[in-house]
């Protein structure tokens, strides 16, 4: 076992392998406040990668309604039950990770879902946290009765539990971009990875008899294009780019800006200890107790900063760039009411206005000899 530094925990932790951060680490931001759970991302991913035999149940990307939605059923209830309450003291997680709480003889504290756990992928959709009392009136945040949407993919963790658990080292993390993959030739289908992943994003293929998972659309990444789930999102809630090493802050990087500068985007169940690389802007309207359980102690600060967005042109501009280009933005800038995203070499990829412009046409267009109407 090695000691590795997990910046989300604020401390060193135990991991079966030495730390070896990739040259750059792919990362995502999901803004839960804009997600409508349309499942376009889910179907985009599935129609690209998991339409084959043995993959029928798989959703490498899924969207679940919280709190009664899960895929697989009860995955995070089970995770929290295994770990016990998250303990944070002064920004440091003092509870045990899935590695540190592994039972004797195991590398990871996990559980293996049954076939029935994978059924009902959209259970709990649009179901509120509890009964709605007669006379309930919602006039403040957070809401007393609430639900919210949580879109999930593999987190391409810095310290993957799946990689740690595999007895054959059939899972690896690419040194060039940190994408985590299952070697389909080397895997023998033991499903240690399936049991180990805290997020249950490695899935066993009933036909091929080996396991598979979200591949971060690596053929697209290699061409500088964002993954399917990102480009297909009609709500423009997602962005994929690269996050700097923990000791570095690059304010022009979209991910660094949101995670390290504005600190509005937080990791999912960081207490598990895998240092996941999908960061969420938390839902403004969900109760803080539930959100801290899910995203850690920095929830309140994140929500407050996000709520100031109308007065924060740089934050607003970056959020407007989400979903504006297929290509990976390596840097961005906001100036004079325009937000611009740039390629790796500084080439401009796209420009968007911070506020939608309006246009009023002439009532009679002399060039085209026609009247312009809004009621047609």
């Amino acid at each position: 076992m090695a000691d590795v530094f997990n910046w989300q925990l604020g401390r060193d932790m135990q991991y079966p392998y030495q730390a070896e951060r990739p040259a750059r680490q792919i990362a995502w931001i999901f803004d839960t406040n804009k997600c409508i759970a349309c499942q376009t991302c889910t179907v985009a991913c599935k129609s690209t990668w998991t339409s084959g035999t043995g993959q029928e149940y798989m959703l490498w990307n899924n969207v679940e309604t919280k709190p009664f939605g899960f895929f697989p059923t009860g995955w995070d209830v089970e995770l929290l039950n295994l770990l016990g309450p998250a303990k944070w003291e002064g920004g440091v997680s003092t509870g045990n990770t899935v590695f540190e709480s592994a039972p004797a003889g195991e590398r990871v504290n996990g559980w293996l879902p049954t076939s029935e756990h994978w059924a009902h992928p959209n259970i709990g959709e649009d179901e509120p946290s509890g009964p709605v009392e007669r006379g309930t009136y919602i006039d403040k945040l957070p809401h007393d009765t609430w639900f919210s949407y949580l879109a999930r993919i593999c987190n391409h963790c810095t310290y993957p539990a799946c990689l740690a658990a595999c007895p054959r080292q059939a899972i690896y993390k690419r040194p060039e971009d940190g994408i985590v993959l299952v070697d389909q030739e080397r895997c023998r289908g033991y499903q240690e990875c399936v049991a180990a992943c805290p997020y249950k994003k490695v899935m066993f293929n009933n036909e091929s008899r080996v396991s598979e998972k979200c591949i971060a659309c690596f053929p697209k990444i290699e061409q500088g294009i964002q993954p399917q789930c990102v480009t297909s999102c009609i709500g423009r809630i997602r962005i994929a780019s690269f996050i700097s090493a923990p000791e570095t802050v690059n304010p022009q990087s979209p991910i660094d800006f949101l995670v390290k500068v504005r600190k509005v985007a937080l990791p999912l169940y960081p207490q598990a200890g895998t240092e996941p690389n999908v960061y969420y802007i938390p839902p403004m309207h969900a109760p803080r107790e539930y959100l801290r359980q899910m995203f850690g102690p920095n929830v309140d600060e994140a929500v407050e900063t996000y709520q100031q967005i109308a007065a924060d042109d740089e934050l607003l501009g970056l959020m407007m760039l989400f979903g504006s280009t297929e290509r990976i933005m390596h840097s961005f800038a906001v100036k004079d009411g325009i937000a611009t995203g740039y390629d790796e070499d500084g080439t401009e990829l796209v420009s968007v206005p911070l506020r939608e412009p309006t246009f009023i046409r002439e009532y009679f267009d002399e060039v085209h000899n026609t009247y312009r109407q809004n009621i047609t």
């Binding site: 029928e56 009902h120 009247y371 312009r372 109407q373």
Partner: protein
């Protein structure tokens, strides 16, 4: 419709690109191109969207021997031309016979204010490169009524002003010359279709007696034309005629469009079915399920419990027996088994007590699908001969709801804008002033049919304590954020 209307129709022809319930009951089905296979140029837009969506001709090969929808029409028309000897049957479809959709589409674009000046072939080429086009309305974004508000241009009615009083004879007759509130025609706990209000000198409708109807005739069809005014103080003591006859009738039944599809977007793919609510299951662990997803009735948990129904159970639902599931039904009829409504119960705290919601627009049960569920080894509700796949074991949303005729939509005197163009007209106009089948609403009773689990008892997620109302202690701790200590 299947039992009472179709028998009166001589023949049904359907254009479809996958096998729907319409195909199950059709005499002839024409296989037509799906969107990805279309060889004809087309465009679409929507009433609030500022964009014009060009649909370029697809370079993909057709998967089967299909034709475009317009080609089917043109082909049938040509045959009628042969039979009648009238050349117009061919001439009117010249653009299809010559494969030149752009001629027709260009005429439409040139005649339309928001697209005049566009060249459709140039738009198609730009669309193929992913370059969008705008509808050229007066403003961008489009604000309906902008000119009326900002420039005092007239509204599209008789006076040109916003009108809150109607003096057309029909509106006076029906008691809707002022904005009034009417109880629904079916889905109400009280006397249906009553106009709320204390006596008012301006609201003097023709009542039932003047139509030769008895005042206590609250029967299904009559309800649509009763113009009875009652103050709430009097109305609140009344009861729906169904409840008076059988007090199990006490649930309003709504069938809105599914939140993952629009009314004309297929939502009935296996993946959409799997994601459709809580009961989707790629491997159908419960072999009673009609498919990998199925219909469900959303209800407040208290409503279910009051009937001995649990989350996940199969439930029968019945509406007014006078005409649903069809006129003339009898227990024991083969068609009754096909048409009586059955769906899963889904406990949903977002529903208010007394209101049941069931999303519609999914494959209904047919004679074939019900037979398939019995004959097939896998138990799928799938017609053996056609492969038609139902999402109901029995019935459909139409086992419950029906359309209602509203006299105020059927007048000959309302001044209104036409569907196309700017010249005002009067009376009937499709999609503007006419009968329509929405909203559908009805009043139902429910009874438990089967346990949620195939082996008996609660369906598994409820048993495992992750469903609202069935929460385990673990789940309660999770819900309250109890796995966190600062």
């Amino acid at each position: 419709m299947v039992h009472n209307t179709l028998p009166g129709i001589e023949a049904i022809f359907v254009n479809e690109w996958w096998w729907t319930a319409s195909c199950e009951y059709a005499d002839i089905v024409f296989g037509v191109d799906s969107w990805g296979e279309r060889k004809n140029l087309d465009a679409t837009g929507s009433c609030t969207n500022s964009f014009l969506h060009m649909a370029p001709r697809s370079p993909l090969n057709r998967i089967y021997d299909t034709r475009g929808d317009a080609e089917v029409m043109a082909g049938i028309s040509a045959k009628l031309g042969e039979l009648t000897g009238d050349p117009r049957f061919v001439d009117f479809w010249k653009f299809v016979h010559e494969g030149r959709d752009e001629v027709y589409l260009q005429r439409v674009f040139t005649a339309s204010g928001a697209t005049r000046g566009y060249d459709v072939l140039a738009l198609e080429e730009r669309a193929q490169q992913g370059i969008p086009a705008l509808m050229n309305f007066r403003t961008y974004p489009r604000h309906g009524g902008w000119e009326q508000r900002q420039e005092n241009k007239p509204w599209y009615n008789r006076s040109g002003r916003l009108e809150f009083y109607r003096d057309e004879p029909e509106f006076l007759e029906y008691g809707e010359n002022l904005p009034v509130y009417r109880e629904p025609v079916d889905s109400t706990f009280y006397e249906p279709n009553v106009i709320h209000g204390k006596p008012h000198p301006l609201i003097v409708p023709r009542g039932p007696a003047e139509y030769g109807l008895a005042l206590d005739d609250l029967s299904t069809e009559t309800r649509q034309v009763r113009n009875v005014v009652k103050a709430w103080a009097d109305l609140k003591g009344t009861t729906h005629p169904l409840t008076a006859a059988d007090d199990r009738f006490r649930f309003m039944f709504m069938t809105p469009k599914y939140r993952h599809g629009a009314h004309s977007t297929p939502v009935d793919l296996d993946w959409m079915s799997m994601l459709f609510g809580p009961f989707g299951d790629a491997y159908r662990h419960d072999k009673r399920s009609p498919w990998v997803g199925e219909a469900y009735l959303e209800m407040h948990p208290d409503d279910g419990k009051s009937l001995g129904i649990s989350d996940g159970d199969y439930v029968w639902f019945d509406a007014d027996p006078a005409d649903r599931p069809y006129r003339g039904w009898k227990e024991g009829d083969e068609d009754y088994e096909v048409s009586r409504g059955m769906a899963r119960a889904r406990f949903q705290n977002a529903m208010q007590p007394g209101v049941i919601r069931m999303y519609y627009n999914m494959y209904v049960a047919t004679r074939g699908s019900v037979r398939g569920a019995k004959e097939r080894a896998d138990g799928l509700a799938k017609t053996p001969e056609t492969g038609y796949q139902a999402m109901f074991r029995h019935g459909s949303h139409q086992s419950g709801v029906r359309a209602w005729l509203r006299p105020t939509l059927l007048t000959d005197t309302v001044v209104r804008k036409p569907f196309f163009g700017q010249e005002l007209g009067v009376g009937f106009e499709s999609d503007v002033h006419c009968a329509n089948g929405a909203p559908k609403e009805s009043f139902i009773k429910m009874e438990k049919a089967e346990d949620g689990a195939p082996e008996g008892g609660l369906w598994k997620p409820a048993r495992n304590g992750v469903r609202a109302g069935y929460e385990s202690d673990l789940m309660k701790q999770y819900l309250s954020g109890g796995f966190y200590q600062a």
